[in-house]
Symmetry: C2
Subunit: 195 residues, 2 copies
């Protein structure tokens, strides 16, 4: 048991580093950049509170688990902002390969059974094909939108995002997993992109 | 639906403030104080990884939910470090009353059904009588111990904590919900309290 606990805590101590990975998005009050640890917490809370926006097939407990681990790869790769490099960096081949390598290293710290379970859950999230992963991705897209709304524009200003770019990079993915939610959010967002 | 979403997001935006509540404990690398938002994420990850330490009656999904919301009251009350004021402040009558008032205000932002559910879950955590709450409390006690171990003593040095005080304020609660875990942790901790 001791060896197993050593591996479990080696992982949990390594995970602590996610609190030092900074995102482009700020806190709602604009006071500082958000880190990926607190972002993951906020997203899990989003899932808990917005469960009624999910497709009935969604298992919200699995969604919460996905969201708790979805950004751990950023310990090695850093956060790649969705609007950076003209929207081309976030899902580039290079970023995806680096994240896959990071997932193997970081989940590999765990005892084998846990490593397999959590690595598979992360892979499912990334593939974004199951109802659980699709809903989790929607929440991951909507939370920075709310932070930008609260902080007066946030990363939309930083990266000079247009309404079309927001629809393509963000709106489409929110609508895929939570269509009613995007209908509501897009009305809030519209004034920021008015000419 | 629109009114419901307004309330859900009013709560989620208010929750963002937990990222600005600082704890006495630092990150594992000692670089800065941990905030209560990222602490809540780390604890939920603890639950996910240390589920095999829980009593078989424990529902780990409920534990994760408890840990996601357990510190929200600190938005109003702040973090009251367990070793501060000679260990007397943390569960003082004044602190508990202020936290109860904060819970009513903060969960009360939500639509009624969600407000009732999450307020009840927080009350269950605080009462620490059910298997789920007892295990959640154990994790809430063990995570700062690991941070102190990693950072070379942390709050044990700040507050000049003795071995007996650690046993009374921390060890007893870890052992209540996760006895094997405390058996393992206490061996790691011992050198810090050796004469």
């Amino acid at each position: 048991m001791s060896e197993r606990l050593e591996a479990q805590f080696a992982f949990l101590n390594e995970a602590d580093r996610l609190k030092s990975v900074l995102r482009a998005t700020t806190l709602c009050d604009g006071s500082r950049a958000e880190n990926s640890g607190e972002h993951s917490w906020h997203l899990a809370l989003y899932a808990l509170v917005l469960v009624d926006q999910a497709d009935p097939r969604v298992n919200i407990n699995r969604v919460i688990r996905m969201l708790l681990i979805h950004d751990l790869v950023e310990i090695d790769v850093g956060d790649v902002p969705i609007h950076s490099a003209g929207g081309q960096a976030h899902a580039s081949e290079g970023t995806l390969a680096a994240e896959a390598q990071a997932a193997s290293r970081i989940f590999g710290i765990l005892p084998r059974d846990l490593a397999c379970d959590l690595h598979a859950l992360w892979t499912e999230f990334e593939a974004s094909e199951t109802p659980d992963a699709i809903f989790a991705k929607s929440l991951d897209r909507v939370q920075p939108v709310m932070a930008n709304l609260m902080s007066g524009g946030g990363t939309w200003k930083t990266y000079q995002v247009t309404a079309d770019q927001l629809q393509a990079r963000v709106g489409r993915k929110i609508a895929r997993g939570a269509p009613h939610l995007w209908d509501w959010v897009r009305v809030k967002v519209a004034p920021f992109f008015a000419c």
